[in-house]
């Protein structure tokens, strides 16, 4: 049916993959949808949609506290995803996997519960390229707990400035380094292993915001030397409403709970309550049961495709995009990091990113424009907004060509 016949050099059969995403057959303003906004949220394959629908159709009840068949089977399915996630991250133990709504909640949980153990005089160190999700919670902690918030600068290319980073660790006051594993604006993949080594050498723990990175390559929290790691289901071809915090067991054990309620307690009296074991201590109330099961389906689906194929495909797309976009008159690529994932930001002389986005949309092309929840980074870049195209498993080289061609016409129209 499709007129796209080129097959990327990677092993991925992209057309076969696309057929598993019903939405990719939709039209927008009478044009075929060209979806280049996966970094904001990825589309969902049938496997995920059906696993959720089938749970609700055939095997659903509230979990943990039920003694009946539906409840036991649903509990098994839910807890089974904890094993899948532990495996996905190569976590030492399933009990170190805490389910949250999204990456934002995972980071807030750490800021609240690990943050409660920090004292004035200690510092949290973030970077200049953080998403608001890995910035505002630390700011709120700073204002609440009287700790210091330090910001590691980036280079003009968009890499973490490692010398400055080391200098900021030097006085030994930093208790926690919280840094993105991949920038949602610049595409930068940060040298997580080195960041962790330097942090540990300075007596600091390290949290990586893996919201963008887990989608593009295999993640191994042990090899990275991470202490905390977070990601969010909806960017990993999974459902909304589900995210993950991984943290080392001893940390989770020492941290006070975040929210109180059912399922997170051991015993309750009006005077005093005691907490359940990890990870349940951090999962109050009825969790996002169906979404967790959907996340499991997403992880299994991605696992079947394999990160070797995914990474190869996305590297090819990104290289192609950098080349084609560079040819567009007046276009300026924002960020030239050493290692990058499938995200490219750009601006265009005389055309505001919002106008680009709207005009692209009129042609069926979905990109994002704005500050990408990274206002301080925009300020560092001297910009108020960028346009951003981002790629996923289902992205075609031809779609990038359509983007580049349309940008040329938009530029013509404006200048």
């Amino acid at each position: 049916m499709s007129t796209h016949t080129t097959r990327p050099a990677s092993q991925l059969d992209v057309q076969a993959i696309r057929r598993q995403f019903p939405i990719l057959g939709e039209k927008v303003h009478d044009r075929p949808l060209v979806f280049l906004d996966s970094a904001a949220s990825a589309q969902k394959p049938d496997a995920v949609i059906e696993s959720m629908a089938n749970t609700m159709r055939h095997q659903y009840a509230n979990i943990h506290r039920g003694l009946h068949w539906m409840s036991e089977r649903t509990t098994e399915a839910y807890e089974g995803v904890r094993d899948l996630v532990a495996d996905f991250l190569n976590a030492p133990s399933r009990e170190e996997i805490v389910f949250t709504r999204n990456s934002t909640e995972a980071i807030n949980l750490v800021a609240h519960s690990f943050g409660a153990l920090l004292r004035p005089g200690q510092a949290v160190l973030i970077s200049q390229m953080e998403h608001h999700a890995n910035l505002v919670p630390w700011q709120m902690l700073r204002d609440r707990a009287g700790i210091e918030l330090r910001v590691a600068p980036i280079t003009d290319e968009g890499d973490l400035d490692m010398e400055a980073y080391k200098a900021l660790l030097a006085d030994g006051k930093v208790a926690l380094v919280a840094i993105t594993h991949m920038s949602n604006v610049l595409g930068t993949i940060t040298p997580a292993q080195q960041i962790a080594e330097l942090a540990h050498a300075a007596g600091a723990l390290v949290l990586f915001d893996g919201s963008q990175s887990v989608v593009h390559h295999r993640t191994d929290v042990q090899a990275l030397g991470a202490d905390f790691y977070t990601f969010t289901g909806h960017k990993l071809y999974g459902p909304t409403g589900i995210g993950v915090l991984w943290a080392r067991r001893t940390l989770l054990e020492d941290m006070p709970p975040f929210m109180g309620g059912g399922d997170m307690i051991s015993t309750v009296t009006f005077d005093r309550s005691t907490w359940a074991n990890i990870p349940h201590k951090f999962e109050a109330g009825t969790p996002a049961i169906v979404e967790t099961i959907g996340l499991g389906a997403a992880i299994e689906w991605v696992g079947k495709i394999g990160f070797d194929a995914i990474a190869a495909h996305e590297a090819e797309l990104t290289a192609h995009a950098l080349q084609r976009l560079a040819e567009v008159p007046g276009l300026n690529i924002v960020g030239h990091p050493r290692v990058r994932g499938g995200v490219v930001s750009f601006t265009m002389a005389d055309v505001h990113p919002h106008d680009m986005a709207t005009l692209l949309d009129r042609n069926g092309i979905a990109i994002r424009a704005g500050h990408h929840c990274a206002e301080p980074l925009m300020r560092r870049l001297g910009l108020s907004a960028t346009a951003r195209a981002s790629f996923g498993i289902y992205t075609l080289k031809e779609e990038i060509d359509v983007l580049a061609d349309t940008l040329v016409r938009i530029r013509d129209f404006f200048v």
């Binding site: 919002h354 106008d355 709207t358 042609n363 704005g370 500050h371 907004a385 016409r409």
Partner: protein
Amino acid sequence: MKTATAERDALYDRLIVERARTPQYAGRLDRPDVQGDGRNPLCGDKTHLDIVLDGHHIQAIRHQTRGCAICAAAADLMAEQVQGGTVAQALGMSDRFMAMLVGTSPLAVADDQPAPLGALEVFAPLRSHKARIRCAELPWIALKEAFSHVDG
């Protein structure tokens, strides 16, 4: 090719693109009687207005706008439409403009008072791009602020 895109985008009328590129009312005034500011933190757009009044009349208006084409053109066309009129007329036009954008009035032609929006009607297609409505509204928000202490 040019036309292909342009045709698809009634929204980006040539007038909008031209006024964004070559505004007629950009700049500052020496001794403004009132001033107004609009800022959309979500996208970083800003506009500043200087206005000289002569009684109830808007004698001169200039804007300094940093933003997208929609916002820049909206500021410039607003200035063109309100200069020379009264404050009350400007505020009435503001209401009709907002109503047009959210689609509560059929192209701003009310029954009893057929005051047209003139060139401002090029913004009508924004109705189907809700996220961009704020861009066109911003100058009018600044105008309201400027007049918030002036009797109509």
